[in-house]
Symmetry: C2
Subunit: 251 residues, 2 copies
Amino acid sequence: MGHHTNDGPITESLEDYLETIYELIRDKQVARVKDIAKIRGVRMASVSPAMHRLRDLGLIVYNQREYIQLTPKGEQVARKVIAHHEILRRFLRDFLHVDKKIAEQDACQIEHHISDQTIDRLVRFFEFMDTCPLGSQVQEMFKNCSEVNPELPACMEECARYDAQMRLEHEQGNSLLSELEPGEKGKILHIKALGALRQRLIDMGLLPQTMVEVERVAPSGDPIWLKVRGFNISLRKQEANGILVERQATA
Amino acid sequence: MGHHTNDGPITESLEDYLETIYELIRDKQVARVKDIAKIRGVRMASVSPAMHRLRDLGLIVYNQREYIQLTPKGEQVARKVIAHHEILRRFLRDFLHVDKKIAEQDACQIEHHISDQTIDRLVRFFEFMDTCPLGSQVQEMFKNCSEVNPELPACMEECARYDAQMRLEHEQGNSLLSELEPGEKGKILHIKALGALRQRLIDMGLLPQTMVEVERVAPSGDPIWLKVRGFNISLRKQEANGILVERQATA
DNA sequence: TACGATAATTAGACTAGTCTAACTAGGAGG
DNA sequence: CCTCCTAGTTAGACTAGTCTAATTATCGTA
């Protein structure tokens, strides 16, 4: 009873162990070192010392070679981690339409690094989407845009009321990055490119709302030198064609 | 030239160092060990070996005691990390309305653990919100619900067209968790509680869409025992009052 | 009862990342 | 020219988490 439970920090790894223990007890009544090792993809030799740490933190009841039990405190921590996991997975899978497996992986990583406030906002977001008719409408439209047909400019065909003509107007009033002259600035509105090209552009930091400035264009118009976020990068014309920008006044 | 650049994994910490170097070069032209240490909040003695690792990975050009330069490959990695950071921060801050500082911290953590696919979906999400008029409408309404007045049942007052009456109907057709009888099941629709109580309920895993079953209610109606996700938890009546549920048929 | 299989633990090595403390290189001023 | 200051490095310790290999405990059964 005087066994002062060390209040040190619970690491990411220990949180994962707790989560695994919780799920094992829930699904199979008991949690054993072997099963934990299997689920977490590590050796039993790694689990043993982790259990000692959890025991020292007062999160599990553990006598060597016996079944592992959660203390109330351990149960509480596990439940919290699982709640974070759950809401993240739901957001990624059901709202952003990330593939099931990837959503699971991402949720598993992110759950350890996300603040309570952000979790709360996600919950509010779901509550909003469930309550407000606009919410489900938007969700439906976004789904059609992003998921059903990710390899086509989907909105042209799928999104009913607004989207087709809106996107058209959007394009009409604006330019492709490849059309800007040296010295002109623009704000990125939309990455039209798809697949690997799209990925490349995103990884170069060419995100919607980002400001770009054309520094120089090769005579043939092919390599185009840009300034983005204070750094210079060069694009092939084909790449620049995949980006819709809004021209900015050159001061 | 035969200096085969080791293709080992780039750790989270190394990514952060690269990001810092990128930003220093962008903002101050040069990156020095001292400044990196200061920004990252570590000692210079920790930076030195990290620079050696980055150099061995072919990501920076570094001769001891001289300025640090990014190689093209290093620049590319840094740009990608920064792009992830940027889009996450924007999502957290501008869409979920997480406090600026917390959004920054979360983005900084999550950027290392998020898949390319999820990033792509976030970009699509922003593109959608910017293009579709419904998008900005929803954004506006959600903002009023979650941010402007987080301490009140905001939607009752702020959200114009739909929300007030919708939320009312929502409540009318359904029950509070405290109203369920032992043996009854319900699906959580909404956490009405606010502040610390709300946080507690979320941390217990009582999220929207979660199924709960009332196991037992104390005679006075005060502690209520629930089954959630296969585990038992108990709630004070006050806590159970903060949860709106939809009664489920008891099979 | 003893044996073999299975489960769990321990010992010892390794990596990554941090720290403190001691040392070194290089420049500016007296 | 020497000295001192600053920036940077190195040495050595520590933590957390993993591994392999060897050891120990337990249980069921012949």
